[in-house]
Amino acid sequence: MKYLTDYSNIFTRYDLNIEVARQAARKVSKDELLQKVADSVVQGDDEEAAKLTKQALATKSPMDVINQGLIPGMNEVSRLWDEGVYFLPQVILASDAMNAGIALCEEAMGKAMDKKGKVVTHTAEGDIHDIGQVIVNALLNANGFEVINLGADVPVDKVVEACRVNNPVMVTGTALMTTTMTAFPKIASQLKRLGLNIPFVCGGGAVSEEYVTSFELGIWGKEANQAPGMAEDALSGDNWQAMRGKWNG
C-alpha cells in the first residue's frame, strides 16, 4: 500500500501543538525524610509511601507527616495535573500512595484525621457506568475530602438517606444513560422536601447542562476534574444557585 510522507492536509496533531513542557515536582519540605515521603506520593508508589511514613513516624508526629509530607506531595501532583503535565493515572496512584500513608498516621493517632468535608457520590439507579464516578472519587480524595462512595446502581432513597445521615457539603451523581438520569430530579426533590439544600452536582455522558439546570439543586458537571473545585466552593458556603451561576451557563 502507498503511504504519504506529509499528512498536514489530512489531520493536525493538536496534541503535539499544545504539548506541555515537562516540569519536575517542586521541593515541598526542608526535612529530608518528609521530602522523601512527599516524593513517594509524587511517584505514586504506595509501598514506598507506607515504608517511609513508618520511618517518619518514628521521629515525627502523625499530623506533621501528613501536613508536611503526604499532603504537600499530593498538592504538587494536583498542581501538575492542573497545568496539564500529569495525567489521571498519576493522580490516582499518588492518591493511593497518600492514602496508604494517611492510614498509618491515623493508626498512630488512634483516630481518623480531619477531612475538609464530606461529599456523597453515586452512580444513578439502573446505571453501571461508574468510571466517571471512580475518577471523581479519586480526585476528591486526593484533595482532602471525605468521600462517601455509594457505588453504582444506587436507588434514589439510598442517596437521600446518605445525605440525611452524613449531611455532606455536596452530593454528586453520574449517569451515562438517558433512561437512568431521570433519577436525579427525583433525588433533588426529595432533598428539597427534607430541607436539605445540598448542592447536587450531576455529570456523566448522558447528562446535559439543560437537563441538570432544569431542576433545583442541580449543577452540571462537565469534567470530573471540576469536582474538587466545586467541593471547595460548597465548603466555603456557596449555595447551589451561586455554584450554578459560577460553573454553568
Binding site: K2, L4, D6, S8, N9, I10, F11, T12, R13, Y14, N17, I18, G205, A206, S208, E210
Partner: protein
C-alpha cells in the same frame, strides 16, 4: 454584467474535488479550491433561542464552539462554519452582525491556542417573499441589504438564497408547466439576482470580505424535494432535473456580477457553475441527510471544494452535540478525499463517487461531472439571454436523460419528459416574446408584480 461565454474547464475530465481554477483565500490561512476539500458545518439554533439577541448569541457560541472544539479533539485541520440567518438575525441586522463578530473572535482564539484554521460564512435570510412584498422596495429589502453590511465587517464570506421568481415557480411546479419554470427561475430569478448581487459584491469589496454565492434552493430544491425518493408521486424526477438545469442560468448571475465563491452548499447546480466559471464550490450530499434526503449523496461530491451538512438543529446526541457530531463526520469524509488527492488516487476516488449515483436517479445523472459540463456548455453556447441559456440547458439535460439507456426511467417519467421537451420546443425563440407571453399567462398568479422586476 456580461453573460459567460466560455467554459472554465476544457473538459469534465479536468474537474476534480478540492481544486478550482480560481481559488479563493480567506483569513486565517484557508484557501478554497486550493487543492484540498474543506468541511463546512451549518448549525441551526433551537426553537426558543431566537427570543433575544443574548439567548441567540449564546446558542451560536455553543453550536459554533462545539464544532471548533471537535476539530481539535479529532484532528481536523480546517473548518468553514456557516450560519444561515433565521428570520430574526436579518430582521434585526445588528443581531446577525454581533453573531458574526462573536464567531470571528472564537475562530481567532482557536487559531491562536491550537493552530486550527477556520472561516465564517454569514448567509443572510432573503425575507422578500415575492408574492408578499415588492422585491426592490420594501422594509424587508432594506433589512437584507443592511444585514450584508453588518455581517461583512466580521464574516469571511457572505451569501444569500435569493427568492426572485418564486411566486411563478410555485404556481408552475405543481402544474407540469415548464414555461413557468423558465420564466420564474431563469428570467425573473436572473433579473432579481443581478439587481441584488451588484449590491452584495459592492458591500463585500468595501469590507474586504468574500462575496460567496447564491443558490436556487427556493425553486430547484423545492422541485427536487417534491420529486423526493422512489415512492413519491408529487413531481416527476425528470421535471425536477430540468428545473435544476434551468436554474443554472440564474445562479451563475452571482459570479457574473463578481461573486467569487465558495458557492452556497445547497446549490445542487454548482457542478454546472464550476464547469463554466471555475469558482470553488460548496456541495452537500449524504452527510446532509440530517437536513433532507436526496438521490445523489456521493456524486454531488465529485467536483466539490467544500463539503457541507446543509443544516442541523443544535441538540445533544450520545456522541456530543449535533454540530460536533456532524463536524466530525464531514471532517472524516474530506480526510479520505484529501488523502486520495495526496496519494494521486483522486480520479479513482471520484469514479467511485460518480458510479455510486450516476444512474440512481435523474439528479445524480445530470450532476455527474460529464453531464454537468455538457449542460454548462449548452448554457454558454446559447448566451443571448437568461431565457435562451436556461432553455438550452434544460433541453440539453432532457436530451442527455433520454439518450443514455443506462438511466432507467419509468414509463410515466419518460412520457412526462417527452412532453416537457415538446413544450420547450414550442416556446418562442426570443426572450422578449417569451416575456410578453408570460406576462399574460401569469398575470393572475397570486402576488406576481412584474414591476418589482423592472418589467
Amino acid at each position: 454584467m456580461k453573460f459567460s461565454s466560455q467554459m472554465a474547464y476544457k473538459s469534465a475530465d479536468e474537474m476534480i474535488f478540492g481544486t478550482a481554477i480560481k481559488p479563493v483565500k480567506a483569513k486565517r490561512g484557508l484557501v478554497f479550491g486550493g487543492g484540498h476539500v474543506i468541511p463546512e458545518i451549518v448549525p441551526h439554533p433551537r426553537p426558543g433561542s431566537e427570543k433575544t439577541m443574548k439567548s441567540l448569541l449564546r446558542e451560536y457560541e455553543r453550536a459554533n464552539g462545539d464544532a471548533l472544539e471537535r476539530c481539535v479533539i479529532v484532528g481536523h485541520p480546517q473548518l468553514l462554519i456557516e450560519n444561515e440567518h433565521i428570520f430574526q438575525m436579518t430582521h434585526n441586522p445588528k443581531w446577525g452582525g454581533e453573531i458574526a463578530a462573536q464567531s470571528a473572535k472564537q475562530m481567532d482564539d482557536y487559531l491562536q491556542k491550537y493552530g486550527l484554521k477556520a472561516a465564517y460564512r454569514a448567509t443572510i435570510a432573503d425575507l422578500r417573499k415575492p408574492d408578499m412584498v415588492n422585491m426592490r422596495d420594501s422594509d424587508y429589502t432594506r433589512e437584507v441589504i443592511e444585514s450584508f453590511a453588518e455581517c461583512a465587517k466580521y464574516a469571511d464570506i457572505i451569501s444569500i438564497e435569493s427568492m426572485g421568481g418564486k411566486e411563478v415557480f410555485d404556481h408552475a411546479i405543481i402544474r407540469n408547466d415548464i414555461a413557468g419554470l423558465l420564466f420564474g427561475q431563469a428570467v425573473l430569478g436572473g433579473i432579481d439576482m443581478e439587481w441584488m448581487w451588484n449590491q452584495i459584491v459592492a458591500i463585500a469589496k468595501k469590507n474586504n470580505c468574500i462575496a460567496g454565492g447564491d443558490t436556487n434552493c427556493a425553486q430547484a430544491n423545492t422541485a427536487m424535494f417534491m420529486a423526493g425518493g422512489f415512492i413519491s408521486k408529487d413531481v416527476p424526477h425528470t421535471l425536477a432535473a430540468l428545473s435544476r438545469a434551468i436554474c443554472a442560468s440564474r445562479t451563475i448571475v452571482a459570479y457574473e456580477c463578481g461573486a467569487t465563491g465558495p458557492t452556497k452548499d445547497c446549490a445542487y447546480e454548482d457542478p454546472i457553475i464550476k464547469s463554466v466559471t471555475g469558482v470553488p464550490i460548496s456541495c452537500e450530499g449524504k452527510t446532509s441527510a440530517c437536513a433532507h434526503a436526496d438521490l445523489c449523496g456521493n456524486v454531488i461530491a465529485a467536483v466539490t471544494d467544500c463539503w457541507s451538512n446543509e443544516a442541523v438543529e443544535y441538540h445533544d446526541m450520545f456522541g456530543g452535540t449535533t454540530t460536533a457530531v456532524f463536524t466530525e463526520i464531514l471532517g472524516y469524509d474530506v480526510a479520505a478525499m484529501n488523502a486520495s488527492i495526496d496519494l494521486g488516487y483522486q480520479k479513482e476516488f471520484q469514479a467511485c463517487l460518480v458510479n455510486s449515483d450516476k444512474y440512481r436517479g435523474c439528479h445524480g445523472f445530470m450532476l455527474s461531472p460529464d453531464n454537468a459540463w455538457q449542460i454548462g456548455k449548452a448554457l454558454v453556447d446559447n448566451n443571448e439571454s437568461l431565457y435562451s441559456r436556461g432553455k438550452a440547458a434544460a433541453i440539453k439535460c432532457g436530451e442527455l436523460m433520454l439518450g443514455d439507456p443506462k438511466l432507467k426511467l419509468s414509463v410515466f417519467e419518460k412520457e412526462s419528459l417527452e412532453g416537457y421537451m415538446k413544450d420547450m420546443k414550442a416556446l418562442p425563440d426570443k426572450e422578449a416574446d417569451f416575456i410578453d407571453m408570460c406576462l399574460k399567462k401569469y398575470s393572475k398568479v397570486k402576488g406576481f408584480q412584474p414591476k418589482a422586476y423592472g418589467l
